[in-house]
Amino acid sequence: MQRPHYSNIPPAHSPPLHHPVPQHVSTVPQLRSPPPPAPQPQQSGYGYPQQQQGAGGGYMQPAFGGFMNDSTAQMGFQVGKSAVMAGQEYVEQNLNRYVSMSVLKHYFNVSNSYVVNKMYLVLFPWRHRPWSRQQRMSSNGQDGYFLPPREDINSPDMYIPVMAFVTYILVSTLIAGLRGAFRPELLGVTATAAFVVVFVEILALKLGCYLLSISNESQLLDLIAYSGYKFIGVIVTLVVSEVVNRGGGAGGWVGWTVFAYTFLANAFFLLRSLKYVLLPEDSPHSAGGAMHTVARSQRTRRTQFLFIYSYIVQLVFMWALSRQETGPKVIRA
């Protein structure tokens, strides 16, 4: 099981100060069977530059014959390894403080059938009947937790929004490239633009919730997930209009029709889904403390807010995401 090829060190008569040729930098850790025996004068000559690098950075270097026998190099390697481990632990700790991994895992717990059905639902939501998320009362007396997306079609997930986001960036960059308007910054610019759109949208939603005193029981990731579903419609619009218009931009009959359709589908989908998030009508397990009766005017106001959010805000954002950069005009001679 030993990798046999480390004995092809450059021959002994190369001067000891030649720069080390990086031979297959493997990522296999250095737990190999003992290296093949190398002749002594090579080893001392070779150990010198290796030792410098081994003690210096401790990065992974394929073990030549005489490398691991050098105690300084080994020590350097150990230092490097412990530094990497400490770094990983530090990163994990800090990451767990901001974003808890188990919560994220719940959002990525999807299955193939869920993904397909959900995408179909986003694009064609009109026939779907029960929109409420299913819950299961947990056993430790607390409030029930929601079923993961694998078992509940109505549960929001993060897999589809993340994939849709990345696909949106790639598709729009591809279309720009087909039109001849590609520049490498376009990738970053599109990504930043989409981030900004999501951020502003969540901000507006949070502001609206605060102003209307809607107690938001669902998490932030739910809202991000819901706002990520519109990328599916935007991608469909972009692809269809590109195919039909053949580079003429997202305008034209077909483009706007598809855009209107996906916009309406997305708005309806959001309306139904967010109804349970934003309009807690008679939640049997609301917090016992602040149970203020929701006045009728407040309810209508909240419904209006939901409508405005679902339709107008989404319209603005979807339009903004569907805009395309015009490439250099082709002048037909």
């Binding site: 729009s172 610019v189 599109t190 633009a193 805009r323």
Partner: protein, 87 residues
């Protein structure tokens, strides 16, 4: 796409808006138009109205003012230096 979108402009606009909120004077302006931060009236029988949209907006403006006054000094200084250097 948003290739023509100006993020620097967005940042500028937001900084200007927050500045505008921060420099509203509490007693000279807001109390005049009835948006002042009313202290709770002990003689009032019921709970002070903290649920309406107007009360929430007033609360939001007051909290933005108290919270952002100091960081805005730093942000404004940074923007001024940036604009001076880059013209």
């Amino acid at each position: 796409m948003f290739g023509l979108f100006d993020f620097g402009g967005l940042v500028h606009v937001s900084i200007l808006l927050v500045n505008a909120i921060a420099i509203l004077s509490e007693d000279r302006f807001l109390a005049r138009i009835g948006w002042g931060n009313t202290p709770s009236d002990p003689g009032f029988g019921g709970v002070p109205d903290s649920q309406s949209i107007k009360a929430k907006m007033v609360n939001l403006i007051a909290s933005v003012r108290t919270l952002m006054r100091i960081p805005l000094i730093g942000i404004n200084t940074a923007v001024i230096i940036y604009e001076l250097l880059l013209g």
